[in-house]
């Protein structure tokens, strides 16, 4: 995420300073490529650029690239077509396309999950730094809103994915964090106050590479809130969610 922002920032700066510089160019190697009026497959093809023609690549939106031909025609080309073009050394052009190969080389993941924490609906967001192909560090924030209390969980954890080369792959998680429990306003007369406890936990989950740039995850977590009372509080959590990767 940070990397993306930095890149975006640099791009914005560079576009100001080198506005006159020419956009990068590629040469069409197939018989032709089709230019659409918009960045989606449903937009009509309005122009066809021929083999051998050089086109400038202006920008991208998801898997679509905006190009300008020599005759000044601007249109959107899909990534698969641009992958069939050549650079000035007559080498094929390659891009990050969110494929499973790219997924295995990812650095960061960002995602959100919905779930149930002790029969209470919960929402989580998380960010993951993929350190090696097996090990990743994750920070997540969960909010679980029940009839009696509001719980906020901040949880730092490490995951181990034993078979990263599988599209459906199991992983385990170990982590620690804090849980903050705030009683609902209509129960304040009960005398309970907001309390914060340390939390340790373990989880087991499965991730599935579903589509371009898109991963689905399902996970079960067993958490232990270290309370100041006689007994610690055990919590169970089920989560289902998605992640995008960079």
């Amino acid at each position: 995420m940070l990397k993306v922002f930095v890149v975006v920032l640099l791009l914005n700066l560079s576009s100001v300073s080198v506005a006159t510089e020419k956009a990068p160019e590629v040469q069409i190697a197939e018989q032709f490529i089709e230019l659409h009026t918009g960045p989606a497959v449903g937009y009509p093809v309005f122009y066809v650029a021929e083999k051998g023609e050089w086109v400038e690549v202006l920008k991208r939106k998801t898997t679509w690239f905006k190009v300008r031909t020599r005759k000044g025609q601007e249109g959107w080309v899909k990534q698969q077509s641009l992958a069939l073009t050549l650079n000035s050394q007559a080498q094929p052009v390659r891009f990050f396309d969110g494929s499973f190969e790219n997924f295995q080389e990812r650095d960061f993941e960002l995602g959100a999950m919905g779930g149930v924490l002790e029969s209470v609906s919960s929402v989580s967001v998380f960010g993951t730094w993929v350190m090696t192909e097996n090990i990743a560090a994750e920070l997540s924030f969960t909010q679980a809103l029940g009839d009696f209390s509001e719980n906020q969980l901040l949880f730092a954890s490490l995951t181990h994915t034993t078979f990263p080369e599988w599209k459906i792959s199991p992983y385990i998680r170990l982590g620690a964090g804090q849980i903050r429990t705030k009683p609902r306003a209509n129960l304040v007369q009960g005398g309970d106050e907001t309390r914060t406890n340390d939390l340790v936990g373990a989880g087991i989950g499965v991730r599935y590479y579903l589509a371009r740039n898109f991963v689905v995850k399902v996970e079960y977590q067993s958490l232990l809130a270290l309370t100041e009372r006689d007994e610690n509080e055990e919590l169970e959590q089920w989560k289902l969610g998605f992640a995008v990767f960079f």
């Binding site: 990068p24 679509w64 898109f214």
Partner: protein, 214 residues
Amino acid sequence: METWVRGLFLIGMFGLISPAISAQEQSEPTTKSVIEPDLERRDINESEIDSEDFEVGLFVGVISIEDFSSDTVVGARLAYHINEDFFVEATYGQAEAGLTSFEILSGGSPFLTEEEREYRYYNLGIGYNLNGEVFLTRDLVFNSATYFTLGAGSTEFGGDDRFTLSLGAGYRLLLTDYFALHFDVRDHIFNSEIIGEEKSTHNIEYGIGATFFF
């Protein structure tokens, strides 16, 4: 007999000429490359290409808070476009609830304090685009998308946070590649017991917004 000889002769001639025709066709591209200008080209580098997959913007509208009249809502939205069809988004909005009909008619003490009337929500969701085009005039054409969203989050209202489901539909009009206008309708559903018994409330919001892609 004579026509038979002539026929044979023609077939022979055609056999000689046709390879010559195809040879001529093949030699054409080589003559083209001779006039190829010698230019210095910038090679493509993925990180240098400006990608516009993120969308950030503000919106303003009206939200009808169930039992608490309607009020102006303002908020911000951040979306990431995964592919041409799907996007994920995070939304934050805030409004201030008015008085219930009962509070107005009875003139009695209010149900909620001023602070409890603050209505704030956040929402994480996924959206699906139906891409399209709008033809304003023959030459003035804008890309657009009708989209549907489904999300979950939290609403802070009446002194509590409540788990909230959000259903929505919207229309995005792209005035340029990177600037869009939005028209949105959303229904925020959460359980509330502020007016006595617990019930599920529908809080319908509609508004306009402007976003930038970066």
